[in-house]
């Protein structure tokens, strides 16, 4: 077996324990893989930093831990991760895939990344993405598009496209993505891996370069539900540096997954699964629809109770999302004015006035980012605020209520992640509205701040992966991971 062919953290740790593998050998193997297969998944490779981390761990393993991986103190001991380039790592260039932050080196590390590194994880590099996390195909990167891991004419999905493609192509073991309206779940679905977004406020956003602050969440992208649960539980918790984090207990979710998978698919018995009637719209690809129908049937045959539910405000979701997200983005991106942040191009140095200077700096934004800044600036401007942002916030509350009443009747809600499988490079990039509709199934849970996960369940005729979207009530990650674990079992995924 190739050295980087591990599917689970526990397999790596067993290899460390048996003395057949060291962290340094493992890290090397990923760098070999990423150089041999040019997917453009990495913006910055942190080879020296990663090898230094691995060397220390290899040394510790032999001396301090006497050949036994310290799983309690360092549950991610020696696990090589890709970090989406929207998260800061002290001293490592962090670009947000934008020309405007081309040379930005942050002086601090994001809380979530710090927690993972404290748990023994190794940062292999900073992953490509849509510029400022704005996009669904990873074609909006100033560093070029990311290529789909198995179909080179396809997009990997976005905005966490580099994070998804690299995990699927074994260029890193697992990765961090960020999700504002589907940016973890959609690329996970397109690339055939697990992608999870926790409850809004679970994981500190400190060090996550903001796109839309009231929606942004960090989440894990992994090859198994168990590892998603482990990464998520390590990153979760209240952070004094992020006032929007929640003071809520964090359980051992990975242990819940193992327990569920040991018990087997009988766990479906009595699970109430909601199927929103609004989600099975026209335009949904028949193969996607069939895959979802078939998994629902399988759940039912294992004893799950399938309940048709209604989320009546779903039709407003995309519009609401685009008002909220662009408004917040226009504000969050104000700081890239070239005074402190924003590459000062030669043209800007010749500027004749402060206004001219700002114009020249902001020419460095890509067209999708500019579009959203302009839309957001308009939506927040005096006289329009009530009609747009305030109204959108009200609709958002209604959507939250929709979910709350649905969860009176069901434990989890299922839907497709995306109406289609991975589309072709360039297929939608000229049509923003079509692109925006890719997120139609993932946006409602984002607006409601709910935990959700994408689990691969099938492939279409061309071999492109299809994911199932599961949504749980607020702070019910335990339930979400349990349901995800059962689905994984059902489709013949990993068992322990």
């Amino acid at each position: 077996m190739a050295m980087n062919n591990f599917k689970k953290i526990s397999e790596i740790h067993e290899a460390f324990d048996s003395g057949t593998l060291t962290p340094i050998e493992l890290v090397h193997s990923y760098f070999v893989e990423m150089k041999s297969n040019p997917l453009n998944a990495f913006i910055t490779e942190c080879q020296d930093r990663a090898l230094a981390q691995a060397e220390q761990l290899t040394h510790d393993l032999k001396s301090k831990y006497q050949g036994k991986t310290p799983r309690v103190a360092k549950p991610l001991f020696g696990i090589p991760l890709g970090i989406k380039d929207v998260l800061t790592v002290d001293g490592v260039r962090t670009t947000c895939a934008s020309k405007i932050l081309e040379d930005y080196i942050p002086p601090y590390t994001a809380t979530a990344v710090q927690k993972l590194e404290n748990a023994g994880a190794i940062t292999l590099g900073k992953m490509n993405m849509d510029e400022f996390a704005m996009g669904s195909s990873n074609e909006n990167s100033a560093f070029g598009p990311v290529i789909h891991p198995t179909h080179s004419d396809r997009v990997p999905g976005g905005s966490s496209g580099g994070s998804a493609s690299a995990v699927a192509a074994k260029q890193c073991f697992a990765s961090l993505g960020t999700d504002t309206g589907g940016s973890i779940r959609l690329p996970a679905s397109f690339c055939g891996i697990v992608g999870m977004k926790p409850t809004y406020g679970r994981i500190s956003r400190y060090g996550q370069i903001a796109f839309a602050s009231s929606l942004d969440q960090i989440g894990p992208m992994t090859q198994s539900v168990e590892d998603a649960a482990l990464l998520c539980q390590i990153m979760s918790g209240e952070d004094p540096l992020d006032s929007t984090t929640l003071n809520a207990p964090v359980d051992d979710w990975s242990e819940s997954v193992r327990a569920e998978q040991r018990r087997g698919v009988s766990g479906f018995s009595g699970l109430r699964v909601g199927v929103p009637q609004e989600y099975f719209i026209e335009g949904i690809h028949p193969e996607v629809k069939n895959a979802i129908d078939s998994i629902i049937q399988k759940m039912k045959s294992q004893g799950a109770e399938i309940v048709s539910i209604s989320l009546p405000h779903t039709q407003y979701a995309v519009a609401t999302y685009y008002v909220v997200a662009v408004s917040e983005a226009s504000s969050n991106l104000s700081r890239y004015d070239g005074v402190k942040f924003g590459t000062r191009s030669a043209a800007a140095r010749e500027a004749k006035s402060l206004e001219d200077f700002y114009k020249k700096i902001r020419a460095n934004f890509g067209s999708e980012v500019k579009r959203r800044i302009i839309l957001g600036t308009f939506a927040l401007s005096s006289g329009y605020y009530d009609a747009y942002y305030r109204r959108a916030s009200q609709v958002r509350r209604l959507m939250r209520n929709d979910f709350e009443s649905a969860f009176q009747k069901v434990d989890v809600i299922v839907s497709p992640v995306c109406p289609t499988t991975a589309f072709k490079l360039g297929e939608k990039s000229k049509n923003p509205l079509q692109m925006y509709l890719s997120d139609i199934f993932t946006i409602p849970a984002s607006l409601a701040g709910l935990p959700c996960i994408s689990v691969p369940i099938a492939k279409d005729q061309e071999g492109l992966p299809i994911g199932l979207h599961l949504i749980a009530p607020r702070l019910q990650e335990t339930l979400l991971f349990k349901a995800g674990a059962l689905v994984e079992l059902l489709v013949g995924g990993h068992t322990s």
Binding site: T94, P106, Y108, A110, P240, S243, S334, L354, L380
Partner: protein
């Protein structure tokens, strides 16, 4: 000029005008760290902004680094609540921070975190005293007090513009008055009263030169009796009480002249040029910014407990008005002196620390209100920037009461202490200012004077008692003011009548 209509009133050369003023005061809160970051917010005691290393007091948060988030300083909230309670405001147990957007190099995030729809404090007031001897009391409404962060500072030098973010993120409260003020004098009294309150309750260091307390004035004029407001202009960032008064006066006069000449007042922002004593236009309403306010998604609504607010209310110290009344009752000070001493927290604390015995109060008050105030005004310094300490004034008061030094000599001592500091007994000794109470040694001097001025002696003896002052003055001059004036007068009369 012909009469014409303005705001539904007839206006002519004889029209009596009224000025309407509302003030917005930015008060820097004296917390150790900034409002949303751990960076240092306060100057060291007696320090100045100019002494601080530029950009030394910053963290990634107040420098607006990508990915950073604000976390609210509880102390700043406490100080803002104190300010609200001391000005009789209602404290909103739920308030909300909002982003106010504008582009300027000293604003690192491209927006200022402020409050708009749900401010922390609302509907307060304070009382001011105006007119002769402060005989007229007026109640001035406070619309709202909200919290926000200060911006940094730009420095333009040698063709470069430099940005210093030490001030970025220093906590502010903005105190917005109702348009209840009618004269520049009232505006000055309001500012002094508010200044007295915020320095007394310890939420502001009160250093005007360093911008701890800054004022914008909204000014309009209308014919007296008119019930609607005229178009107003806003005069920005005037940082001395005197200049605010002058700026309001000249701006009201300018507006009146514009109207009388048939012109119109435009809503605009104006700046006051103290040297020319006139205001000039900075930007018009058309150029006004659209701040695109919206609730800051990084900061959940600020929720306060009633118990916590009540605890702060209980911890409020005696306020300036209460102090003033107590100084009058307890020490028998005049209304003017007690108002002045209570008008700044620093001065009041200094006074109370010096007046450690009841009978010290009057001499200490006389020196502070007279000599020290004059020296401060002349030098432009703050009390804290001088070498003066309360102990010196207790010592001087004791010496005055013992008649060991004269009041004149005490003033001389204060002058030296102000510049060089020092210990009062040593200084009195060194300057030879110990009061002469035993007048035997100056009898020859007096006799000499009487012999040398027969004309004045004759005048006195013929009943022109005023001439006494001449003789006393001559002796004082010759002795450097050291002689006990009471005893001298007595002796002089005796000698003149001999």
């Amino acid at each position: 000029m012909n009469a014409f209509q303005l705001y539904g009133m007839n206006v002519g050369p004889d029209t009596e005008w009224e000025t309407v003023i509302g003030l917005e005061v930015h008060v820097q809160l004296a917390t150790e760290s900034k409002i949303f970051s751990q960076a240092r917010a306060r100057l060291s005691a007696g320090g100045s902004v100019a002494d601080e290393m530029p950009n030394a007091n910053t963290t990634p948060v107040c420098a607006g680094h990508p990915g950073t988030l604000p976390s609210l300083n509880q102390k700043a909230v406490e100080y803002a609540v104190r300010t609200g309670l001391a000005t009789q405001c209602r404290i909103n147990l739920k308030s909300q921070f909002a982003r106010k957007h504008y582009f300027y190099p000293d604003l690192p995030k491209g927006y200022q975190i402020s409050q708009l729809e749900l401010p922390l404090c609302e509907a307060g007031h304070l009382n001011i005293e105006v007119g002769a001897e402060g005989s007229v009391m007026r109640r001035i409404g406070i619309t709202r007090i909200h919290m926000e962060e200060d911006a940094g500072k730009n420095l333009h030098r040698d063709g470069f513009s430099l940005v210093n973010l030490n001030r970025a993120g220093v906590p502010l409260v903005e105190v917005v008055s109702e348009p209840d003020l009618r004269t520049a004098e009232e505006a000055g009294a309001y500012l002094r009263k508010l200044y007295g309150i915020v320095t007394c309750i310890g939420v502001c260091d009160g250093n005007l030169q360093e911008g701890n307390f800054r004022c914008d004035a909204n000014v309009s004029v209308r014919p007296k009796g008119c019930t609607r407001f005229g178009t107003r202009t806003e005069i920005k960032n005037v940082n001395s009480f005197r200049f605010v008064e002058k700026a309001i006066e000249v701006e009201a006069e300018r507006q009146k002249q514009v109207i009388l000449m048939g012109g119109e007042i435009h809503q605009e922002t104006r700046l006051y040029d103290a040297q020319k004593n006139q205001t000039f236009s900075m930007r018009s309403k058309e150029e006004a910014q659209d701040y695109r306010y919206f609730p800051d998604p990084d900061l959940p609504p600020l929720l306060l407990g009633q118990d916590w607010v009540d605890g702060i209310r209980r911890s409020l110290p005696e306020l300036p008005d209460q102090k003033r009344d107590r100084y009058r009752a307890e020490f028998g000070l005049s209304k003017y002196d007690s108002s002045l001493l209570s008008s700044s927290g620093e001065l009041a604390r200094f006074f109370e620390a010096a007046a450690i015995k009841v009978d010290y109060a009057k001499p200490v008050s006389n020196l502070l209100v007279g000599e020290v105030t004059r020296l401060l005004n002349d030098s432009g310094l703050e009390l804290a920037q001088t070498k003066l300490v309360p102990k010196q004034f207790s010592d001087l008061a004791a010496l005055i009461l013992e008649q060991a030094v004269s009041v004149t000599a005490a003033k001389q001592v204060v002058g030296v202490l102000f510049k060089d500091g020092g210990d009062v007994p040593t200084l009195v000794e060194r300057l030879g200012l110990k009061q002469l109470n035993d007048l035997r040694s100056i009898e020859p001097l007096i006799e000499q004077l009487i012999a040398a001025n027969p004309k004045q002696v004759a005048e006195y003896r013929s009943g022109k008692e005023k001439v006494l002052g001449f003789f006393v003055g001559q002796v004082m001059k010759a002795t450097g003011g050291k002689v006990n004036p009471g005893s001298l007068q007595e002796l002089m009369i005796k000698k003149l009548k001999e």
